[in-house]
């Protein structure tokens, strides 16, 4: 239990997917302008991360490893993610229309989100599927935290008087640098809490 909590917290705070592993920067910059859409996007990403890990981890351990086909992992995982996202979209459109209205438009964007493929590829390093799933959940929550925090920063930058050449994306990137620097303060936290 302690070990799982350590994985969860280090995925959320220390090894934050966006701010320290540089995965999912496009949605981080692209969809963080409004807190509402930031929440929608990150809920969809977290959902897909956990469920794709639940599919790709057994595929890797039970199919690819016994057949000595580990090198096919990228190809197999991206296909699974693409098909899965499509399936989820069809299912929630049919059975949960309110959820579809809030998450629907984000789902197709997720197929090519490197955070999702990245988390499934990194998760094969874990020994048990439980650890892999907890890491996927932590990665998703870390993505959520970064996006939601940053959308607050973006809303302030919108009204701030920045030099013309920095308007828009450059100002957002510099602000992201400062947010990333503040996350460096979390290093060592997990070792102290659970070590």
């Amino acid at each position: 239990m302690k070990e799982l909590l350590a994985i969860l917290f280090s995925a959320i705070l220390v090894d934050n997917f966006v701010l320290s592993k540089f995965m999912g920067i496009c949605p981080f910059i692209g969809v963080s302008k409004k807190t509402q859409s930031a929440l929608g996007m990150s809920a969809a990403v977290t959902f897909v991360m956990v469920l794709s890990t639940a599919l790709t981890y057994p595929i890797y351990k039970l199919v690819l490893v016994p057949q000595k086909l580990q090198y096919l992992n990228t190809m197999a995982f991206i296909l699974v993610i693409a098909l899965f996202v499509q399936l989820v979209e069809i299912l929630i459109k049919r059975f949960l229309p309110p959820l579809y209205r809030s998450l629907g438009i984000y789902l197709p964007l997720i197929t090519t989100n490197c955070a999702v493929l990245g988390v499934t590829l990194l998760n094969i390093e874990y020994d048990t599927i439980g650890q892999a799933l907890v890491n996927a959940l932590g990665a998703g929550l870390g993505f959520t935290l970064a996006l939601v925090l940053f959308s607050g920063v973006r809303e302030r930058i919108e009204v701030a008087d920045v030099p013309a050449m920095f308007k828009g994306v450059p100002a957002a990137l510099v602000a992201a640098g400062i947010v990333a620097a503040s996350f460096m303060g979390f290093s060592g936290l997990v070792e102290n809490l659970f070590g």
Binding site: V31, L79, L173
Partner: protein, 221 residues
């Protein structure tokens, strides 16, 4: 003549990283030192060139509805090939790039060029476009990597520049420094191009998912 044009546009005027803001994840992740930026850029150029040629050849065979999964499989094939080659011939680079080598598969530059160019143009034009875009990506990565390595580690391509007296600013090798250097470079490109670029949407131009979201989510950037 037109091939030269297709080739040159990717280098500067439509630079995928600094102008179109595509492929930002590898741009930030592997550029703590210039050498990794160069390696990443060349690996991506190889995948881009190979997949553009194949997609252009198959453009009449692949049905429209399943083109994105088909493109992704072709791209993933080339990524697997390039990781084999690097693992054998340049193992150091293979270790340094790590999971980002596999993540070339979802680099939006590649899928974006496949969707916007290779699936509509001739093989030769697609190859010229891919080569230009790939080298433009490499150029941007080496530039960002050089700035971060010189400021953060006090060296360039591993050559020490501190002469034992200057203290490098370690922050620049860290994620925070990556974001800042990239932000400043985009700002400088904005300034040089007379703010034409700031109107460009964040990756929407080449984003393969644009059809799905209708540019709604990024249109208001």
């Amino acid at each position: 003549m037109s091939f030269t044009k297709e080739f040159l546009k990717g280098l500067i005027r439509e630079n995928p990283v600094l102008v179109m803001l595509l492929g930002t994840c590898p741009t930030l992740a592997v550029t703590a030192v210039a050498q990794n930026g160069l390696g990443m850029g060349l690996a991506t150029t190889f995948v881009l060139l190979g997949s553009s040629v194949v997609i252009s050849l198959l453009k009449k065979v692949i049905p429209g509805e399943v083109r994105l999964p088909a493109f992704i499989v072709i791209i993933a094939g080339f990524v697997t090939l390039v990781s084999f080659l690097l693992q054998v011939y340049v193992p150091d680079l293979y270790d340094a790039l790590g999971v980002f080598l596999s993540l070339i598969t979802v680099n939006c530059i590649i899928l974006g060029r496949a969707e916007a160019f290779a699936s509509k143009n001739s093989v030769a034009a697609s190859a010229a476009d891919a080569l230009g875009m790939g080298l433009g990506f490499t150029l941007a990565l080496v530039a960002i990597g050089s700035i971060r390595e010189i400021l953060g580690s006090g060296s360039w391509f591993g050559i020490d520049l501190t002469f034992g007296v200057l203290e490098p600013i370690t922050l620049f090798t860290m994620p925070a420094g990556g974001f800042m250097v990239f932000g400043f470079m985009v700002a400088v490109v904005n300034k040089l191009s007379g703010y034409r670029i700031s109107k460009k949407k964040m990756g929407c131009e080449g984003c393969p998912s644009r059809a799905a979201c209708g540019g709604k989510e990024c249109a208001d950037q």
